[in-house]
Amino acid sequence: METSIGWQLLPMTLADGLSLGVMYAIIALGYTLVYGVLGLINFAHSEVFMVGGIVGVELLIYVLTPTSLHPLIQLALALLGAGFAAAAVAWGVERYAYYPLRSRPGSGSLAPLITGIGVSLVLMDTVRLFESFFGHFERPFPSIAWFEETYAVSEHLILSYKSLVIWGLGGGFLALVHGLVNRTRWGLALRAVAQDTHAAMLLGIESRKMVVLAFVLGGFLAGMGGVLYALQFGKINAFSGFVPGIKAFTAAVLGGIGSIPGAVLGGILLGLIEMLAGTYLPLLTDGAIGSEYKDIVTFLLLILVLLCRPTGLLGKPKAEKV
């Protein structure tokens, strides 16, 4: 009985794990892009994600669902709105929090880190305050029946249109970023700055512009990720960025921070592991260990991976500069 249930659960567990993983991957790209060019962990990124999600959900509630547009077009418009809003916030964070600090000598690496945490708290509570003016806190994703329709692949693999949309869009975003970074002149410049800021400047690349590009691109993605998060889980609030942010950061480290394919691989692996652990821990232990302990498994695996490959799965060790 128990084993048969285990097998029956596998397809759905993998499908839901993939949805979660795509979400992590989209956020993780923002961490990795900024780390790539600046060597900075942008702790405000999780709140950029949250702002995007809130903007997208508000757009849907007040502007888009009252129209009779197709749900997919509504979602596309909400994604664009959220992306631009989040990109604007990311730009603002870089311009007014990180840049003034970076341009002063002797600020080291600790000051920007603390600034990031500070900005993160400010954004969180500003959004909460703003929402409270309207008596809101939790922002539920509007019920759009189309997303909940299902397509039965087999008896035990029933996919909602929602998951298919998330996979499709997630895959699209990731491919787009990959193309942008590897196939365009902007991408080339970005990679040059990531490799060596000073050498890139000597070659006539405006490194400052590339830093802004990394923030804005990561912010745009995170904003759209926020809307997908609200779609998948049903609601978002001012504090919703924190946990996914930590997990996505973990994913970026797992995949090798600074590496774009690494962030994607790390995100998807983390989502799958988390979902598998949540499902099978109580099943295999006959209820002795509940789903709530899934993070133990997840993070033990992370430590193991880092012990074997300290730079993450796809990260390259930094070449020693002599």
Binding site: D16, R128, S132, P140, E148, Q232, G234, L283, G287, E292
Partner: protein, 389 residues
């Protein structure tokens, strides 16, 4: 320049004479403090505790006037966080004008703060804390009281409703790992196992978790009759939404943590089918005496009250009566907190929710539990059963 100086001198003179007159006739200001979440996910309910108490201060504050005391409300925000609660509590015990606490909403917070209140004999009357331990610990036995029921009765009450009305045979029990949620779920699970109900899965989820698919995928296959959730509406609403999205039609049963208008907002009206929760706060339409309370509340705060607002009103009423007794006996001397705490145990009056009288532990003598079936809107909530202890 000289003009300015003389102006200031005159102002100073005016001010000091006013201050002197005030000092002669001014009554001593006493404070009732509400201590509940006013920000964060649970602020909706936290606010009703504050507003309910405010109305009690408006209505009964004059009871203290003969003793030259003026009663005011001070609202504190515990953010549903024990650390914040304890920090506030340490500040509050130092303020001699504080006569007592109405709160908290979260048992986990109350458990931590009562240890601080007890140091200064500062009495707490809770409108919402149902964890049994609140009134069972020796260290806080003199000051911790509640006007609501307890989880060790609420859990079995939910179970008896489940077995008699829902005829459930196989169930899931989920808790949010907080003192409230896991306490309630444990008592419910214990009673269920005793009654021969098959518990297919008993698990916790982190209180910040938003993804229930690892539990719900299993429910798709095992089809439990009832999914019991020991936790708060912000998560319960989401659990319900995800259940229905996965086409799981099991009954969702929970405790008073689900008792909020936000439940419908988060889950979506279309998903409210077969949702029941037990509550220690009577639905307002079950309280004939609360009619004028509801109207005043609506005109004053432009919001609808819930059961916790009425419970807070009664709790504050009890505190005011106890304080009056204490001031009467002490003839206008400084406030004696230990005496107020002792007097709280002696009150006996008809409140809006029923008879308010405490046993020697601080539990209310006649607790009532109600099972509510959630409707598409909070106004459509229906009373499914009333169980008296």
């Amino acid at each position: 320049m000289r003009l300015k100086a003389s102006f200031i001198a005159v102002m100073f003179g005016v001010l000091s004479t006013t201050a002197a007159t005030i000092a002669l006739s001014a009554p001593q200001v006493l404070k009732i403090v509400t201590h509940s979440p006013l920000s964060g996910a649970q602020s909706t309910t936290g606010e009703t505790i504050k507003f309910g108490t405010q109305l009690a201060v408006d209505d009964f504050g004059k009871i203290l006037e003969p003793y030259n005391a003026k009663l005011v409300l001070q609202a504190e925000d515990d953010q549903s966080n024990p650390t914040v609660g304890v920090a506030n509590a340490n500040r509050l015990i130092g303020d001699a004008s504080v006569i007592g606490i109405i709160g908290h909403f979260n048992s986990g917070v109350a458990m931590a703060t009562t240890e601080v209140y007890a140091k200064a004999n500062l009495v707490m009357i809770s409108p919402a804390n149902t964890n049994p331990k609140i009134t069972e610990r020796a260290s806080t036995s003199k000051i911790a009281n509640r006007v609501c029921g307890r989880d060790d009765v609420q859990g079995p009450a939910a179970q008896s409703f489940m077995s008699s009305h829902l005829k459930a045979k196989k169930i899931y029990v989920i808790n949010d790992k907080t003192a409230y949620g896991s306490g309630l779920a444990q008592e419910f699970e214990k009673a269920s196992r005793k009654a021969g109900v098959q518990v297919l899965l008993s698990t916790g989820v982190d209180e910040k978790e938003t993804d229930f698919s690892s539990i719900l995928n299993r429910a798709v296959i095992e089809k439990p009759d009832v999914i019991f959730f020991g936790g708060i509406y912000s998560q319960g609403g989401l659990l319900l939404k995800q259940m229905r999205q996965k086409h799981i039609e099991s009954v969702l049963l929970g405790g008073d943590g689900l008792d909020s208008a936000e439940l419908q907002t988060i889950a979506g009206a279309a998903n409210i089918r077969n949702v029941y929760f037990t509550s220690v706060a009577m639905p307002l339409n079950q309280l004939p005496k609360a009619k004028s309370f509801i109207e005043t509340y609506k005109t004053k705060f432009k919001k609808s009250p819930d059961g916790f607002a009425v419970a807070s009103y009664d709790a504050a009423h009890a505190l005011i009566l106890a304080t009056a007794e204490s001031l009467k006996a002490k003839k206008g001397q400084a406030v004696d907190r230990a005496d107020i705490a002792a007097n709280v145990r002696k009150v006996n009056f008809e409140g809006l929710t029923g008879t308010i009288a405490f046993d020697n532990k601080g539990d209310i003598k006649a607790a009532r539990y109600v099972v509510i079936e959630a409707g598409a809107t909070p106004a459509q909530n229906k009373t499914a059963a009333v169980i008296t202890k």
